[in-house]
């Protein structure tokens, strides 16, 4: 059933919430400054509750079913984490409380920084960036500041073709010129290609490891050496950390800076697109450049310090998305060393799907994968069926589609990341659905072309939306 837009409902004078009683007199604001009230609808509490309850029913989340969106790590978000973030002591805490009344919050920040350092094998962490892309920006600014501190002005950043779009965008936002490099035949970077573009004008490289093909960058150590040799820094996009917790050592790989996505690897929910959190982890030599304030623990007391003259400054008005940090902290405390097991099972799940589907869909790279695997629509070309149709048809089977047409290096990519929280039975039914769709592509291609049919709306006209944008009602 359709739901009217908010302002198509309501009647003037209705109330959807009550206000605390007025216990002071009316005063007189300066009439010259007073404005007209905005045209917001007046609704009753039930109007509001029904409106958003109905809207929620048209949404698909992890709690609704498998959401194998590659590179997004749509794992289960434990309910208890929401409870912890909602504790009055956190949810009602003002960021400028005196230190003596902020010790619990500070301790949480301090401990979470240490946990993330341990997990990545890096030396220091800032939890301030509000999302992965802001983490990348932070990393780029640190690279900029590092070179500046050495009186070196470098203008380029190497970015592989398998990188997330945020990588070049973050580099550009920081004023760097991205230099695109191609990954090799095996789907990973080769030292030769890096050596070709690496010179003293290059500030560093942004590498995603495991990369967006779900493959481990096997030559990362050599690549880091090449970059370091020419004075560059190695930035690792840790979006795919879920594959290698407790396995890989970023420091050993030569990584200087790495961001993490707490809303991916550490199970804080995506919230339909945020808020996230993108902590940045660095090696010792880059610690002076981390954002301020930083947390300090001295004589049993936690406090904030701004005394880092080489710091890149602030990325957030306060300390980042603290409410998200609480959830990630709860998750780490609940998992402990089992985070390694989570990574192993995430990798097991991806390889299991890869093995079971590779006879039906073309596998972009037939190699052991990490936490995700990438197929293409090549086998379906004969039936003139594309990745797009396969994805839409999956909706009719009750699954969220995988990431499609990414990474760009694979034509018609279907990028599947099951995560470790999906059980074997669920994977089996996903595989069964994909196989049925492959069969339908042969026998009843119209089913794919018309899909989805069981959703709130059918295929949307995105072109018209972009051509004549209507962004408000």
């Amino acid at each position: 059933f359709d739901e009217l837009l908010l302002w198509e409902k309501g009647a003037k004078g209705r109330r959807g919430m009550s206000l605390p009683p007025r216990d002071v007199d009316l005063t007189s604001p300066d009439q010259a400054l007073v404005g007209e009230l905005p045209d917001l609808p007046d609704l009753s509490e039930m109007d509001v509750v029904r409106h958003y309850t109905r809207l929620s029913q048209w949404n698909f989340g992890v709690d609704q079913g498998m959401y194998p969106l590659g590179s997004c790590t749509m794992k289960y978000n434990p309910k208890t984490n929401e409870k912890q973030a909602g504790l009055q002591g956190f949810a009602a805490a003002h960021p400028l409380l005196p230190d003596s009344l902020s010790q619990g919050a500070f301790k949480l920040i301090h401990d979470l920084e240490r946990f993330l350092a341990e997990i990545t094998c890096m030396d220091a962490v800032s939890l301030q960036p509000a999302a992965g892309a802001q983490g990348e920006l932070t990393g780029m600014l640190i690279i900029y500041a590092y070179h500046k501190s050495r009186n070196s002005k470098r203008t380029k950043i190497i970015v592989p073709d398998t990188a997330h779009g945020t990588n070049p965008a973050s580099a550009a936002l920081c004023g760097f010129q991205p230099v695109n490099v191609k990954s090799g035949e095996k789907g990973i970077l080769t030292p030769e290609v890096i050596a070709q573009v690496m010179d003293e004008s290059v500030a560093g490289i942004m590498v995603t490891n495991p990369n967006t093909l779900g493959l481990f960058e096997e030559h990362i150590i050599e690549i880091s050496e090449i970059v370091h040799e020419k004075g560059g820094l190695v930035y690792c996009d840790g979006a795919n950390m879920n594959a290698i917790m407790g396995i890989a050592d970023s420091a050993k790989m030569g990584i200087d800076i790495q961001h993490l996505n707490l809303h991916k690897t550490f199970s804080t929910p995506h919230g339909s697109g945020g808020p996230g959190s993108g902590p940045v982890c660095v090696r010792k030599h880059l610690e002076p450049f981390l954002p301020v304030p930083r947390i300090a623990f001295e004589e049993g007391v936690y406090r904030l310090s701004e005394d880092f003259p080489q710091s890149i400054g602030k990325l957030h008005a306060f300390y980042g998305n603290y409410g998200v940090l609480v959830k990630a902290y709860s998750y780490v405390l609940s998992m402990g060393p089992l985070l390694q097991r989570a990574s192993q099972l995430a990798v097991l799940n991806a390889n299991y799907i890869k093995e079971l589907l590779k006879d039906v869909f073309h596998l972009a790279y037939d190699r052991p994968c990490m936490h995700e695997c990438v197929f293409t629509d090549k086998e379906q070309h004969e039936q003139k069926i594309s990745t797009f149709e396969i994805a839409k048809r999956l909706m009719d089977y009750g699954f969220h589609p995988p990431t499609i047409y990414f990474p760009l290096v694979v034509s018609g990519a279907i990028m599947i990341e099951p995560t470790e929280t999906e059980s074997k039975e669920t994977l089996d039914s996903f595989v069964q659905a994909m196989k049925s769709i492959a069969q339908e592509a042969k026998d009843h291609p119209e089913l794919l072309r018309e899909a989805p049919t069981k959703t709130k709306v059918k295929r949307m006209d995105e072109t018209a939306a972009a051509r004549h944008p209507c962004l408000t009602g």
């Binding site: 045209d39 749509m74 919230g271």
Partner: protein
């Protein structure tokens, strides 16, 4: 482990399918030199019951309402959030979904964000709003970057009465660019000194905050007029949008971009984050906007629906040429604000804003009667600066013992404002609590 569904039998059978013997064998492509030498040194897993105890212990150390009477504002506000809003935001269909890339499975988020964009545009008096940014500070930085993109000029001007942290974030965002940042001083009445602005050149954008960091209402129309006179764009920032339930909105006063922090509208304080970066402008600038946009469209059967649109501005399509690098934004916070504004309505917004204003005027008057100086004479909304006698620090600490937190010390941000404190009063403070504060500071 309750989050890991695999039994030993599952693992064995899946490993067999994959064709390896042990879980460790799955990592054959990870060179030994890349591997960590020690197991994860993390505390042993806590049961949910232990976690509850541990977290309650941490939370109990905090000076949070209602146990404490908190007169802090300065960019983070204590407002009452109805339980209906909290409940709706807890629904996992919203909480556990991703960015709505697949519109057929995301009409809930998409319609809600489309409505959010509309409500925010109306609140700020602008034509369009984006789907949200991280917070007020980065929204201001993005706005100023946008003025550079549009005007191709290389200077930006920002008032010294803008939230100090916002100015710091702007400096950080601009630190690797060659663009110049000019700061405008503030006047004795607490508003920005616009005189320095006249006749400026090569300026991309000018930003004021209103109410500004001191709580004072700026002369936005005048600032806009001067800014436009030299071809720059005028940006109005804010940290307390509830003020627009009483005062004139940015749009009507000539802002080209209105942006700021939406936390005060339905979002828990959460020690400063997550907040909500509100960002609104006019249609002519639509293709320069950072962040996501939701648009109205139709499906193949002609039914109304919503999609992410104008993605060609965005990083996942346009990569280094994108209008910003933003991917994850603040959807759930935007939804909170939409739900909150829907609950409040036009009528409620007006009443709530008046209540904030009147309560803060009450405290202002009471402090003035008690002999303290209200530092700035300009009109304010729900926070203001008061000058206490030297040595107030000790009084402040004494009040802490009584579970009263008497505002923020300004000298930390403005050394010249020694003995000045920024106090905030929202609808959550009772007259009795304000009277008690005045009694205690006098004592």
């Amino acid at each position: 482990m309750r989050y890991l569904p695999h039994t030993e039998e599952d693992i064995a059978s899946m490993l067999e399918t994959v064709g390896v013997e042990h879980l460790e064998d799955l990592y054959s492509t990870v060179p030994s030199g890349c591997r960590r030498s020690t197991p994860l040194n993390l505390p042993e897993p806590l049961s949910e019951w232990e976690l509850d105890n541990h977290m309650s212990g941490l939370a109990a150390t905090m000076g949070a309402s209602p146990e404490y009477t908190v007169f802090l504002g300065a960019g983070n506000y204590e407002h009452f959030i109805p339980e209906s809003v909290r409940y709706l935001l807890s629904r996992s269909e919203f909480v556990t979904a991703y960015t709505p890339y697949q519109p057929e499975l995301s009409q809930g988020t998409l319609q809600a964000i489309y409505e959010y964009q509309t409500l925010v545009s109306r609140l700020l008096g602008m034509e369009i709003a984006n789907a949200s940014l991280y917070d007020g500070a980065s929204a201001l930085a993005e706005a100023l970057l946008m003025t550079v993109r549009i005007t191709h000029k290389e200077k930006i001007v920002i008032s010294g009465a803008v939230h100090p942290a916002y100015r710091q974030v702007v400096r950080t965002y601009f630190s690797s660019t060659g663009y110049e940042i000019i700061e405008l001083p503030y006047l004795e009445d607490g508003r920005t000194d616009l005189s320095a602005l006249r006749g400026m050149q090569d300026v991309a954008g000018v930003a004021l905050q209103s109410p500004n960091f001191f709580g004072c209402i700026e002369q936005l129309s005048q600032a806009a007029e001067i800014t436009h006179s030299f071809g720059a764009l005028f940006v109005t920032a804010f940290s307390e949008p509830l003020a627009y339930g009483l005062y004139k909105n940015p749009g009507i006063q000539g802002a080209d971009i209105a942006c700021g922090e939406g936390q005060s509208m339905g979002i828990p304080q959460s020690f400063g984050g997550p907040g909500l970066g509100m960002f609104a402008t006019f249609m002519k600038h639509v293709r320069s906007i950072p962040g996501r946009l939701v648009g109205l469209s139709r499906d193949v059967s002609g039914k109304r629906g919503f999609v992410l649109t104008l993605a060609t501005r965005e990083q996942h399509i346009r990569r280094e040429k994108a209008t910003s690098n933003i991917c994850t934004n603040g959807s759930l916070c935007a939804l909170a604000t939409a739900t909150y504004l829907a609950s409040l309505g036009r009528t409620g917004l007006g009443e709530l804003a008046r209540l904030n204003f009147d309560k803060s005027e009450y405290l202002k008057a009471a402090l003035r009667s008690a002999g303290f100086r209200i530092r700035f004479s300009s009109p304010t909304f729900n926070e203001f600066v008061v000058e206490f006698p030297p040595g107030f620090d000790a009084v402040y600490d004494r009040l802490l013992q009584k579970k009263i937190i008497a505002g923020t010390r300004l000298a930390r941000y403005y050394p010249e404002l020694e003995n000045c404190w920024l106090l905030c009063v929202t609808e959550t403070k009772t007259r009795e609590q304000m009277d008690r504060l005045v009694r205690e500071v006098k004592a």
